[in-house]
């Protein structure tokens, strides 16, 4: 029982990281209708910036996080402007390939700047851990902060898209780009803002990911990126609460699958569940079914 609780908390904590990354995927997909495969690598850049700010400039963790967010926001806007905007009218496939290209570009640039030697990320916000059941259940402050950050971010995003003017513009662009433009919404600016928010979230995710699992190398973002993309699809891509539920479920299934079925099959179980869900609900758990207009 105690070990079940331990795995559950562990899974929720891992799932929260997936969820924050998935929020970025889902925002960009929902609004720009493109899969930004470079998202995972922006996480990696965010983590490196935070690492450098702390290790070389000796900034406190919060300031380092803000630095990482600022750099990633700019990076997100620049990538969108240079790589994706010129392809706004191109086929979806062209944009997808460009995104994969950007992903490789970021990874290999990081390799040149920071070399392939892994760096060990310092533990942030270490407020000790909670020990329950005679020390058999250890909950680290890392896990609690990750879970809390996830909830706060999801609520803030829901409010933002629901209540603010920019949020409404985003939803309008998401529904019909052409009509939104006719209504006087600046589509390019709206998409830029989406990328800015998505990339800032990526920076937070990067810092949380690396402070829980502290090795940092140029490929750090790749696999969590793919898992988070899976989570976004799982929850219904384009849906903000969907990304969160998808991320959490994915984390919990992964850990419990490894713990109680087999460590060898952990990832296979995750993806098998995804396939089953998509067979019954092709739009994901919370996704709206799409009707193709002919």
């Amino acid at each position: 029982m105690v070990s079940f609780l331990r795995f559950l908390i562990n899974g929720i904590s891992l799932g929260s990281v997936y969820a924050i990354i998935a929020l970025g995927y889902t925002m960009v997909y929902g609004i720009a209708k493109m899969l930004n495969f470079a998202h995972g690598d922006i996480i990696m850049v965010g983590a490196y910036i935070a690492f450098c700010a702390m290790a070389y400039l000796s900034l406190p963790p919060m300031l380092a996080l803000l630095c990482a967010m600022a750099v990633c926001t700019v990076l997100g806007i620049v990538i969108e402007g240079l790589a994706y905007r010129p392809l706004r009218q191109a086929t979806k496939l062209a944009v997808l390939i460009t995104a994969i290209g950007v992903s490789y570009l970021l990874q290999n640039t990081a390799l040149l700047i920071w070399s392939s030697n892994p760096k060990v990320f310092p533990t942030l916000f270490d407020l000790g851990s909670i020990r329950l059941f005679d020390g058999n259940l250890v909950i680290t402050s890392q896990s609690i902060i990750t879970i809390a950050a996830n909830i706060v971010i999801m609520l803030a995003l829901t409010l933002f898209t629901g209540r603010t003017k920019m949020g409404k513009a985003m939803r309008a662009v998401s529904e019909d780009k052409g009509a939104a433009e006719l209504m006087g919404i600046n589509v390019n600016r709206t998409i830029s803002v989406t990328f800015a928010i998505g990339s800032a979230l990526a920076a937070i995710a990067g810092v949380l990911l690396c402070s829980t699992y502290p090795t940092l190398q140029p490929t750090t973002g790749a696999m969590p990126g793919i898992k988070a993309f899976t989570a976004a699809v799982f929850g219904g891509i384009g849906s903000i609460p969907g990304a969160m539920i998808g991320g959490l479920l994915l984390g919990v299934i992964e850990i419990l699958g490894k713990a109680y079925i087999s460590t060898e099959l952990g990832d296979a179980i995750v993806f098998a569940v995804l396939i089953i869900v998509l067979l019954f609900k092709p739009a994901g758990l919370l996704g709206k079914p799409m009707r193709e207009k002919v």
Binding site: S3, N10, A55, P118, K119, T215, I255, A259
Partner: protein, 379 residues
């Protein structure tokens, strides 16, 4: 008209390639192809080999006499790209290969090199499958089975454990190879293995694996894996107040060189490695200094030392066999096979001789990590 242009271009290309080939033959320097992953996820190993080989070549060239030219090609740890890289360096005039760094590409390239009769000496591709059935493929590193057998022997001889937990990477030939032989030898020696857990290259969360070892009551955890996941396992174990003896192999070497690594996590970790950058041996100290210069400040790991030894071993064999810059790869191959039968080389990673099936004979050293440095085991 277009068709004619294509033919002219083709002829020109052929002439150019032939020109390159004959120019290479006239050159005096010995040409060694160095192949490994210099970019991508496995870049850390390929770059270590590249820089290690560079240090050896620089030393040899500074002494005068027969010079060495290294032709380095990236294979991104991909078998197909590795074969392309092999073809590229051969076109550039390489006479022998230092490589390839990683096992899977090495198996693919050595099959081609076997057909074409090119001699290969890999610093680090340690799988038993690498030299198997190929008389032209030699290793500088230990073979995986040897590492597993040594480890079990040391644990048994020193009564280090009553119950052993194992965490290994089942997506990796190196890790799996050591694990299988460790397991077989442990059974033979009567060691009890209480938990066996796996992970793969993309795993970031090790809570499940460490919990399994803890719950099974393992007092020693054997880690036949590279240091990057090992650092995560050590941190995870600490977070759950679990402190068994951790026993690693040569892949663990390098853990202390990770930037930002809390060395106290690795305190009392035992590891088996032929090379220690912390050794006070004069040759090693000199190598570490030169390596840092070439690599821009990194601390060399065993990959770097093995590559350094590979270049020197090849160079010595070339001198002994009378190979120079004008020998063809095929002739060099037959001469080197003959030379490696009798070659004795004292390198950074130990005193080496080779068996006719391409395996190296050398002894590993056991070290214990204390206060961020290595101490010889048992002292």
């Amino acid at each position: 008209m277009k068709f004619n242009k294509a033919i002219v271009a083709l002829i020109l290309a052929i002439v150019m390639i032939m020109g390159l080939g004959s120019a290479a033959l006239a050159d005096e320097a010995l040409k060694m192809g160095v192949i490994g992953p210099f970019t991508g996820g496995a870049a850390i190993y390929g770059l270590a080999c590249k820089y290690g080989a560079q240090v050896a070549a620089d030393e040899i060239n500074a002494k005068g006499g027969l010079q060495i030219e290294l032709l380095c090609e990236d294979d991104e740890h991909d078998a197909e790209k590795s074969v392309n890289a092999y073809n590229t360096v051969m076109d550039q005039g390489a006479q022998m290969i230092v490589g390839t760094t990683t096992t899977t590409p090495c198996i693919a390239v050595s099959a081609v090199a076997f057909e074409e009769r090119t001699f290969m000496l890999t610093p680090s591709a340690s799988s038993a499958k690498v030299p198997e059935g190929k008389d032209n493929m030699y290793q500088v590193c230990f073979e995986d089975p040897a590492m597993g057998i040594f480890s079990a022997q040391i644990i048994a001889d020193n009564n280090l454990a009553t119950k052993i937990g194992i965490i290994y990477n089942n997506a990796d030939d190196y890790s799996t190879g050591i694990y299988e032989n460790f397991k077989a030898k442990s059974e033979e020696l009567g060691l009890e293995i209480v938990s066996t857990e796996t992970f793969n290259d993309d795993t970031v969360d090790f809570n499940v694996q460490v919990t399994a070892a803890k719950d099974a009551g393992a007092d020693l955890v054997f880690l036949p894996i590279y240091y990057t996941p090992a650092s995560l396992i050590l941190a995870t174990a600490k977070s759950m107040d679990y402190a068994p003896v951790f026993f690693g192999v040569d892949g663990m070497d390098g853990i202390l060189a990770m930037e930002g690594f809390d060395a106290s996590l690795a305190d009392d970790v035992i590891l088996l490695t032929p090379f220690s950058a912390f050794s006070e041996d004069e040759h090693t100290v000199d190598f570490v200094a030169k390596y840092q210069e070439v690599s821009g400040g990194d601390t060399p790991n065993q990959f770097a030392a093995d590559a350094y030894d590979a270049v020197y071993a090849l160079y010595n064999a070339c001198l002994a066999g009378g190979i120079d810059g004008s020998t063809s790869p095929e002739d060099a191959c037959e001469t080197l096979i003959e030379q490696f039968g009798t070659l004795e080389y004292v390198g950074l990673t130990g005193d080496m001789t080779w068996t006719p099936d391409g395996k190296v004979n050398k002894l590993p050293n056991a070290y214990v990590i204390k206060d961020g440095g290595y101490v010889a085991f048992g002292e």
